[in-house]
C-alpha cells in the first residue's frame, strides 16, 4: 500500500500522539475514583505499536519527508526503539505507582516520547528544537508529579527554569548558525561551514548548541540541576528522564558532530568534546562519592555516564557512533532498571532514601536486592553485564582513535565509581540495624506483576547485552553506517575489525 512519504516517515510519532490525545480525552470523561490502569495499558499498547512500526521502517531504507527536514534512517530507528523500550518499561513500572491523575501522567509520558523521537529523526535544527521543547515541557511537568511534596515543586521549578535557559542557548545557536552559514539544516550548515565568511561565529553557534544539549544530557559543567531534580522527581519519572531524553539529545549531538562538520573544524570540536567528557566523568564520580541519598548518588552517576558516552564522540566516525549507540542502549537498560528497583523498594512515599535505609534490603526482599546488585554491577562495568560492553566499546573506539589518555582517565574514573556503587551494594547485603528496620518499610512489600515484568525486562536486557552483544552491536553499526559522515578520518573497513595504527603515542 503506497502511502505518502510524510505519512510513512512519521507514522510512529503519529500513532503515539493519537494514543496520547485519546488518553487525555478518556481521562476527561472517566469518573473520579475509577481505576486509571486501563489507560496505562492503552499507553503501553500504543508505544508497542510505535516500536513495531519503527522496526518496520527499517526495511524501507532512508525516508525523507517535510522538505527534507525529517530523515528516518537506521540511526533514528535505533533511537526510536531505545526510547520506545524505555517508555514501555517506565509505564509498566508506574501502573501501580500513582493513585490519582494517572491519565495525565500517561499522556505526558507519551507526548514527551513523541518529542524525543522527533529529535532523533530531524535533520533540520528548528525541527530538533520543536522536538526538544515538546519533550522538555512534558518532563518539566512530570518532574513535579508527586504533588504535595516540597521537593517535587523544587524539582519541577528548577528543571523548568534552568531548562528553558538551556533551550534558549540552543535556539540562539541555531540563529547564529543561520547567520553564519545561511541554513538551519545540518547538511546546509555542514556545507556552509567550509565556505563561511565568519567561521568563528559559526563555531560559536555550534558551541552554543552544545550548551543546550549538554544541559539535556547533564554533562559537566551544565550538570548542576541534576541531583536536585532527580531527588525530587518521582522515581519512575527519573528512570525515564535520566535515559530517554538524554539518548535523544545524544542522537542530535551525534548527528551534529559527525555530519555537521567539515574535516577542517572536526579537530577543534573534538577537543571541546574531549574536555567535556573528561570533566563530566570526573565531576560526576567525585560528586557521587560523598552522597548519602541514593537518588542523588544515581544522579551524579548519570553525569559520569554522560561523560563515558561523550568519550565516544572523540573517536573516529563509524566506530565512535556505534559505540555511542551501544552505550546509550546499555545505559538506558541498567539505569531504568535501577530506578525501577528504587521505585519498588521505596514506593510512592519514597520511604527508602539514604544508603542506611537500604541496609538489609537483600534480606527482606531477596529478589529485589539481587536485581539491584546486578544493575549496580552493570553500572560499575563488571563483565557479563551490558555496562561492561558499553564501556569496552567506547574506550576501545577512543583508543583506536589515539585518545589513550582519555581512556585512562575514563577507566580510572570507573575505578573511583566502584566505591560508591559498592557502598550501596554492601549496604543492601548487610544486616540492618535492629531498631530502625521494621518501621521504615512498607507493610505490603509486594512487587506488582506489571512492575515485575518491567523490572525483569530491564535486567534481562542488561544481561543479554553483557553476554550476547553481537546483534545489538550489529544494529548499532548499521545505524552508524546510515549517517552521512562528513569527517575525513573514516577508516576504510567496518568498525572494530579494522586495525588503525596509533597516530598519537602515549607519552
Amino acid at each position: 500500500m503506497p502511502l505518502s512519504a510524510s505519512l510513512t516517515a512519521l507514522l510512529p510519532e503519529y500513532v503515539l500522539t493519537l494514543t496520547g490525545v485519546l488518553i487525555m480525552l478518556i481521562e476527561a470523561v472517566l469518573k473520579p475514583g475509577t481505576s486509571r490502569k486501563p489507560l496505562g495499558w492503552l499507553a503501553i499498547a500504543g508505544t508497542t505499536v510505535t516500536g513495531i512500526l519503527s522496526f518496520y521502517q527499517l526495511h524501507l531504507g532512508v525516508l525523507t519527508a517535510f522538505s527534507g527536514s525529517i530523515q528516518v534512517d537506521a540511526f533514528s530507528i535505533f533511537f526510536h526503539l531505545l526510547i520506545g523500550s524505555v517508555v514501555v518499561a517506565t509505564l509498566l513500572g508506574s501502573l501501580d505507582y500513582f493513585e490519582s491523575n494517572a491519565g495525565e501522567y500517561y499522556a505526558l509520558v507519551l507526548f514527551g516520547a513523541v518529542g524525543m523521537m522527533l529529535m532523533t529523526c530531524s535533520v533540520e535544527l528548528l525541527m530538533v528544537f520543536v522536538g526538544l521543547e515538546i519533550s522538555s515541557i512534558s518532563t518539566y511537568i512530570l518532574a513535579g508529579f508527586r504533588k504535595g511534596e516540597g521537593t517535587a515543586v523544587e524539582s519541577s521549578i528548577k528543571y523548568f527554569l534552568l531548562g528553558s535557559f538551556a533551550t534558549a542557548f540552543f535556539l540562539y545557536g541555531i540563529a547564529l548558525a543561520y547567520g553564519a552559514t545561511g541554513s538551519t539544516s545540518i547538511a546546509g550548515i555542514s556545507a556552509g561551514l567550509g565556505s563561511s565568511a565568519t567561521p568563528r561565529m559559526a563555531f560559536l553557534a555550534l558551541a552554543m548548541m552544545l550548551i543546550g544539549l549538554g544541559f539535556k544530557v547533564s554533562a559537566a559543567p551544565f550538570h548542576l540541576w541534576t541531583p536536585d531534580v532527580y531527588q525530587g522527581a518521582p522515581a519512575p519519572v527519573v528512570g525515564l528522564m535520566s535515559t530517554a531524553p538524554k539518548a535523544a539529545a545524544f542522537a542530535v549531538l551525534l548527528r551534529v558532530t559527525f555530519c555537521g562538520f567539515p574535516p577542517l573544524m572536526q579537530h577543534r570540536w573534538s577537543m571541546l568534546l574531549w574536555g567535556l567528557a573528561a570533566l563530566s566523568m570526573t565531576i560526576g564520580n567525585l560528586g557521587a562519592l560523598k552522597q548519602t541519598n541514593v537518588k542523588r548518588m544515581l544522579a551524579y552517576s548519570s553525569i559520569a555516564h554522560a561523560g563515558y558516552l561523550l568519550v565516544a564522540f572523540s573517536a573516529l566516525a563509524p566506530a565512535g557512533i556505534a559505540a555511542a549507540c551501544f552505550y546509550a542502549l546499555s545505559y538506558a537498560a541498567m539505569n531504568v532498571g535501577a530506578f525501577a528497583v528504587v521505585t519498588q523498594a521505596g514506593g510512592y512515599k519514597e520511604t527508602l532514601r539514604s544508603f542506611e535505609d537500604y541496609r538489609g534490603l537483600a534480606i527482606r526482599r531477596p529478589v529485589l536486592g539481587f536485581l539491584l546488585a546486578f544493575l549496580l554491577l552493570s553500572l560499575v562495568g563488571i563483565p557479563f553485564t551490558g555496562g561492561f560492553f558499553g564501556k569496552f566499546y567506547v574506550f576501545s573506539a577512543a583508543i583506536q582513535a589515539g585518545h589513550v589518555w582519555l581512556a585512562i582517565i575514563g577507566l580510572i574514573n570507573s575505578g573511583v565509581a566502584c566505591y560508591y556503587y559498592l557502598r550501596l551494594l554492601s549496604s543492601v547485603y548487610t544486616k540492618p540495624v535492629e531498631s530502625a528496620s521494621v518501621a521504615t518499610f512498607d507493610p505490603t512489600p509486594v512487587v506488582s506483576v506489571p512492575a515485575g515484568i518491567g523490572l525483569a525486562l530491564a535486567a534481562a536486557a542488561t544481561l543479554m547485552l553483557g553476554i550476547m552483544p553481537g546483534h545489538v552491536l550489529h544494529l548499532a553499526n548499521y545505524a552508524s553506517s546510515s549517517l552521512r559522515i562528513t569527517s575525513a578520518q573514516v577508516p576504510p573497513s567496518a568498525p572494530f575489525t579494522s586495525v588503525t595504527p596509533l597516530t598519537n603515542q602515549p607519552k
Binding site: 557479563f384 561492561f388 583506536q400 566502584c418
Partner: protein
C-alpha cells in the same frame, strides 16, 4: 563418549549451574551445605579428567583440551579455552580446594547460607575461567568477575565491623589496576587486531606487536602492575592483611596468589618477553624484600590471622622470585610452589578457622596449652607448619629448593645477593611458625583455652584435613608426578625467554623510572 573438547566448558560452568540450583533450593536445615558439597565434588571429579587424559607427548608450548569458537565477531573475541602444563594442575587445585572449603564452612557459616554458597561457587567459576581462558578478553571478563563474589563474601561474612571497609579496599585495590590492564589490552588489540593469546605470543616472539617501545613499556607495566597488586608483590600488598583478617575461612583459602601468579606467567612473560627481562631485576629485588618483610612482620603479630597474612606475603614473594629468575628450575619451582602454598596456606587457614569456631578469638595471647586438650588439632597444626617451613620430605621443600637454586643460576644483576636475602626467609618462617605453635599449644593455659571447653576434630574436619596432609607427603616425595606437566611449560618458557634475551638489542634505551632503582 569423548568429552575432551568440552571438558573445560564443563569445568568452568558446572559450578555456575550449581550456583543457580542452590539459588532455587530452599535454605532449610543442611540443604545448602550438602548441595554445595555435591556440586564441588562433581567439579573436582571433572577437573581430575584433565591429568588422566593429558598428553605428555604433545610439543611443549601447545595447548590441550582446546575449544575455540567465535563469540563476538567485531571486535574479534573468541571463546577460546585450553590448558597446558601451567594451568592444568592449578585447575585441579581449584577443584580440590572447593569441597574442602565447603566442609570447613559447614558449621562456621550458620546464617544466610544460600548467599554464602552461591557466592562461593561463583568465585570458583571465575577462577576456573581465569585458568582456562586463552582469549584475553574472555580472560579479562573472568578476572573482573572474580572480584565481585569475593568482595561480597568479605563484606557480608567478615568477622568484625570493619568488614565493609576491608571489602571496598580489596575491590578498589584490584579494580583500578585492572582498569589500566584493560587499557593496555585494548591498545594491544588496536595494534594487532587479536585478543588470542597464542597469536599474541607468536607476534611478541617475532617482535611484531608494535615498533613503539615506549608504548610497549607502558602496556607491559599495565599488565604487570595489575597482576602484582593481586598477588600481592611487596609494596602493593596494602589490601592483603585487612582482607585476610576479615574474610571467612573458605574465601581466604582462595583469596591471594594463584590467579595473579598464573596470569604473570601466562600473559606478562608471553606477550612482553623483552620488557619482562628488563623489569626482572626489580621484581627479584621486590620479591626478596617481600620475603624478609613478610617474615619479620609475621614474627611480631599477636593476631593469628594477621600472622598468616604476612606469612602468605612471604610465601608468595618466594614464588615471584622463582618466576622472575627466568630459569627452568625457578619457573618449575614457582609453579610447583603455587600448588604447595595454596594447599599449605589453605590448610593453615582452615585450622585457624577451626580454632576460631571453638574459641571465638584469633588473639594468640588468649590461647596457650591447647596441646593436652586438642591432640588432633595440634598434630595437624604441626604438620601444616612443617610444610610451610619447608621441611625436607614435605612439599614446600621441593618448591623452595627449586626456586632458590633457580634464582642462584639466573643471569640478572645482583642475583646472588637477593637469593641470599631470600634464603633468610626460610629461617624466618621457621621462627614465626614455631613461635606460634609454642604460644598457642604449649606454655601455660591462656584465658580462652581455660574458660572454653572445646571438642577435638570431628569426622567432617578430619575429612577436610587428611587429604591435605596426604598431599603434603606425596608431593614431597613424588614430585615428578606433578613436575612432568609443569616442566613442559617451565622449560618452554625459559627457553623462549632466553632466546629473547639473545636477540634483544644490545644498546639499552633509557628505562622508565620505575625500574631505574635497581641498576
Amino acid at each position: 563418549m569423548n568429552i575432551d573438547p568440552i571438558i573445560l566448558t564443563l569445568i568452568v560452568f558446572f559450578p555456575l549451574a550449581g550456583a543457580l540450583l542452590l539459588a532455587l533450593l530452599p535454605d532449610r536445615g543442611r540443604t545448602m551445605q550438602w548441595a554445595a558439597l555435591a556440586v564441588t565434588l562433581v567439579t573436582l571429579g571433572l577437573t581430575l579428567h584433565l591429568p588422566f587424559h593429558y598428553s605428555y607427548a604433545s610439543p611443549a608450548g601447545s595447548f590441550q583440551f582446546e575449544q575455540n569458537v567465535p563469540w563476538i565477531s567485531a571486535p574479534a573475541i573468541r571463546y577460546h579455552l585450553g590448558v597446558d602444563g601451567l594451568s592444568m594442575w592449578l585447575m585441579v587445585l581449584t577443584g580440590l580446594l572447593a569441597p574442602l572449603g565447603v566442609l570447613i564452612s559447614w558449621r562456621a557459616v550458620d546464617s544466610r547460607k544460600k548467599l554464602f554458597y552461591v557466592l562461593f561457587l561463583l568465585q570458583q567459576v571465575a577462577m576456573m575461567g581465569i585458568f582456562a581462558s586463552l582469549d584475553m578478553f574472555l580472560y579479562y571478563a573472568f578476572w573482573e568477575m572474580s572480584l565481585v563474589p569475593m568482595t561480597l563474601l568479605i563484606a557480608t561474612f567478615g568477622r568484625s565491623e570493619y568488614r565493609r571497609r576491608a571489602a571496598i579496599k580489596y575491590f578498589l585495590y584490584a579494580f583500578i589496576p585492572s582498569a589500566l590492564l584493560l587499557v593496555a589490552m585494548l591498545w594491544l588489540y588496536a595494534q594487532t587486531g587479536t585478543f588470542d593469546l597464542p597469536k599474541l605470543a607468536a607476534l611478541a616472539a617475532g617482535n611484531a606487536i608494535s615498533p613503539n617501545t615506549t608504548a610497549l613499556w607502558l602496556a607491559s607495566l599495565g599488565f604487570l602492575v595489575a597482576f602484582s597488586v593481586k598477588v600481592p608483590v611487596f609494596p602493593l600488598h596494602g589490601w592483603l592483611v585487612d582482607a585476610i583478617a576479615e574474610a571467612p575461612t573458605a574465601a581466604v583459602m582462595v583469596l591471594a596468589g594463584k590467579t595473579a601468579l598464573y596470569s604473570m606467567m601466562r600473559f606478562s612473560l608471553a606477550i612482553f618477553p623483552e620488557q619482562s627481562h628488563r623489569v626482572a631485576p626489580l621484581m627479584i629485588a621486590l620479591a626478596a624484600i617481600g620475603i624478609v618483610y613478610g617474615g619479620l612482620l609475621a614474627l611480631v603479630q599477636h593476631d593469628l590471622k594477621k600472622l598468616a597474612a604476612y606469612s602468605t606475603l612471604g610465601q608468595l614473594s618466594f614464588i615471584v622470585l622463582g618466576i622472575f629468575s627466568f630459569t627452568v628450575a625457578g619457573l618449575d619451582g614457582g609453579i610447583y610452589q603455587i600448588l604447595n602454598e595454596s594447599l599449605a596456606g589453605a590448610a593453615f587457614f582452615m585450622l585457624l578457622g577451626l580454632l576460631y569456631e571453638r574459641y571465638g578469638s584469633y588473639d594468640m595471647r588468649q590461647y596457650g596449652g591447647l596441646a593436652q586438650k586438642l591432640p588432633w588439632v595440634v598434630t595437624m597444626f604441626v604438620l601444616v607448619s612443617l610444610s610451610i617451613i619447608g621441611l625436607p620430605m614435605l612439599n614446600s621443600f621441593v618448591g623452595e629448593f627449586l626456586i632458590l637454586s633457580g634464582s642462584m643460576q639466573s643471569g640478572f644483576a645482583h642475583h646472588h645477593l637477593w637469593t641470599a636475602v631470600a634464603a633468610t626467609g626460610v629461617i624466618l618462617s621457621a621462627a614465626y611458625m614455631l613461635r606460634m605453635i609454642q604460644r598457642v599449644f604449649y606454655c601455660e593455659l591462656g584465658t580462652k583455652s581455660q574458660a572454653v571447653t572445646a571438642w577435638d576434630l570431628d569426622a567432617r574436619e578430619h575429612l577436610a584435613l587428611w587429604p591435605m596432609v596426604a598431599l603434603f607427603l606425596t608431593m614431597g616425595v613424588a614430585s615428578p608426578l606433578w613436575m612432568r606437566a609443569i616442566d613442559s611449560f617451565g622449560a618452554a618458557a625459559a627457553s623462549r625467554l632466553a632466546s629473547v634475551q639473545c636477540t634483544a638489542p644490545t644498546e639499552t634505551p633509557s628505562l622508565p623510572t620505575t625500574s631505574g632503582g635497581v641498576h
